[in-house]
């Protein structure tokens, strides 16, 4: 780890946080009825999986899960350079009348969530959409706010906040990197 990096959540802390988030999701919904967790590619999908696992243990219910790739809905495709790779989108059942909980690792400008909302609208009409994120780092550019937050982090524009997950990165950890600060 370089000197500009600091650990926001260790593996154990992340586990506790995800546990609490899962409880909050169920609490806000007053149960597991009509819930579907939709993770945003890529790491949001793994986070959604973990949350569903906790809910299964605590409530004894398998909450349905989906994956959403928002690449085609991004509003910055033209400025981002060569075409980004498109990931898998899979919504296994109709979302009409469901409570969709969008799950993502880090909430920053809000544009990813905006794209996700647009994309979900093409799949159907949920009765309610909520947002659950592991990290809220502020810096919103759109009027979007989360319903469930793992941890708030004070970060400046040039900072990086990364959630690393075992399934993709080989470890569980949240790192703040302030290396680009003036």
């Amino acid at each position: 780890m370089s000197p500009s990096q600091s650990v926001v959540l260790t593996a154990r802390a992340l586990e506790r946080t995800l546990s609490r988030m899962a409880d909050e999701i169920v609490e806000q919904n007053d149960g597991t009825e009509g819930l579907i967790l939709v993770g945003i590619q890529r790491r949001g999908v793994q986070v959604a999986q973990r949350l569903a696992a906790v809910i299964a243990t605590r409530e004894g219910v398998e909450v349905p899960r989906g994956a959403l790739d928002i690449t085609l809905y991004r509003d910055d495709l033209q400025t981002v350079g060569p075409r980004p790779v498109v990931g898998r989108t899979e919504i296994p059942l109709t979302i009409d009348g469901m409570t969709v909980v969008i799950v993502d690792d880090v909430l920053f400008t809000g544009r990813t969530v905006r794209a996700a909302l647009n994309e979900l609208a093409d799949f159907g009409r949920p009765s309610r959409v909520r947002l659950a994120v592991v990290i809220d780092r502020g810096g919103r550019e759109l009027p979007i706010q989360p319903d469930v937050v793992g941890k708030h982090v004070e970060a400046e524009r040039g900072d990086r906040v990364d959630v690393f997950v075992q399934e993709i990165d080989g470890r569980d950890e949240v790192i703040l990197d302030t290396g680009k600060r003036a």
Partner: protein, 318 residues
């Protein structure tokens, strides 16, 4: 701001294996869009795409149109087949007019080999070759590759035989280049009068008869035999062609159990392929059609990364 494919898609001969893989990998997740209730993504919103078809074609044009509309582009169809406009003269002027109208992309099908390149050299818009003369039909080649890769997981080391009029077939050429680049073994089978004289220099095995080709192959790509070929004297009759070279269920008995049958369409049932084969368990012809839209969406998506005009449109987005 460049696309990994460059400005145009003119053919598979000039693409690398990496580029082809990128297109196939991009097409895979795009298939899902055609299964949604709302079959649309906003990615090419504001883009204007012209389908310039100098040769009549329903299937390819419709497939492109679906791909374009599902990406939210605005499409304009220009068909000059049957008009009194002379070929060639029109092409230069057409290019200039398109340029002046600030079109983002052109999908062109033309009866002369090299016409797509001719256009691409003269306009800044992205040009996609939907079939130029007997030269290449890259999106068809790509969807054939995707269809095979889906079934096999990989194309490396697989044996594919292209059957029929290779001499006049742009689908055959695109398939030969695409399959070779992806590591497949390629063969052709047909009467020598319908194979290019220099075919042995193209790195493919040649089968003079269909029976050994069927025994050898993991997949057959059966090309349409056109009536004009008989009229031009390349083969004596369609009847003989079917009796000697036709892919029939009787002949398929000597094939491997899991052989795949492809056909670019439209089919001449009873000539190059019998109905029970086309509709049978080995046929992946309908997969080809589905994959066609996804492949074309992928190509539009990847090429659009190289268009300055799209940046302006997207900046005014949701």
């Amino acid at each position: 701001m460049t696309s990994p494919l460059g400005k145009d898609l003119l053919g598979l001969e000039r693409l690398t294996a990496e580029q082809i893989t990128l297109i196939l990998d991009t097409a895979e997740p795009l298939k899902e869009i055609s299964e949604r209730a709302i079959k649309k993504v906003p990615t090419l919103r504001g883009a204007t795409i012209v389908n310039l078809f100098f040769e009549a074609s329903t299937r390819t044009r419709i497939s492109f149109e679906f791909a374009e509309k599902r990406m939210s582009a605005d499409t304009v169809n220009v068909a000059t087949a049957g008009s009194s406009v002379t070929k060639g003269e029109t092409l230069v002027d057409t290019a200039r007019n398109l340029e002046a109208m600030k079109i983002d992309m052109v999908v062109i099908r033309h009866g002369s080999s090299g016409a797509a390149q001719f256009l691409a050299d003269r306009i800044e818009s992205n040009v996609i070759n939907a079939g130029d003369g007997t030269h290449e039909h890259p999106t068809q080649g790509l969807l054939d590759l995707l269809t095979l890769r889906q079934r096999w997981g990989t194309l490396k080391g697989k044996k594919v035989c292209i059957c029929g009029d290779v001499l006049h077939s742009r689908v055959a050429r695109s398939n030969i280049w695409g399959l070779q680049k992806m590591g497949a073994q390629v063969a052709v089978c047909g009467p020598r009068s319908l194979l290019p004289n220099a075919i042995s220099e193209m790195g493919v095995t040649v089968f003079d008869r269909i029976e050994p080709a069927i025994e050898w192959a993991d997949a057959l790509n059966v090309l349409r035999l056109q009536l004009e070929r008989m009229q031009a004297g390349y083969i004596p009759s369609l009847r003989e062609y079917n009796r000697v070279f036709g892919v029939t269920s009787e002949r398929l008995k000597r094939a491997r159990e899991d052989i795949l049958i492809l056909h670019p369409g439209p089919m001449n049932r009873g000539v190059e392929i019998d109905s029970d084969v086309a509709d049978g368990p080995h046929s992946v012809i309908l997969d080809q059609v589905t994959n066609g839209v996804a492949v074309r969406m992928a190509v539009l998506y990847l090429l659009s990364g190289n268009s300055p005009r799209l940046a302006e449109a997207a900046a005014g987005g949701t």
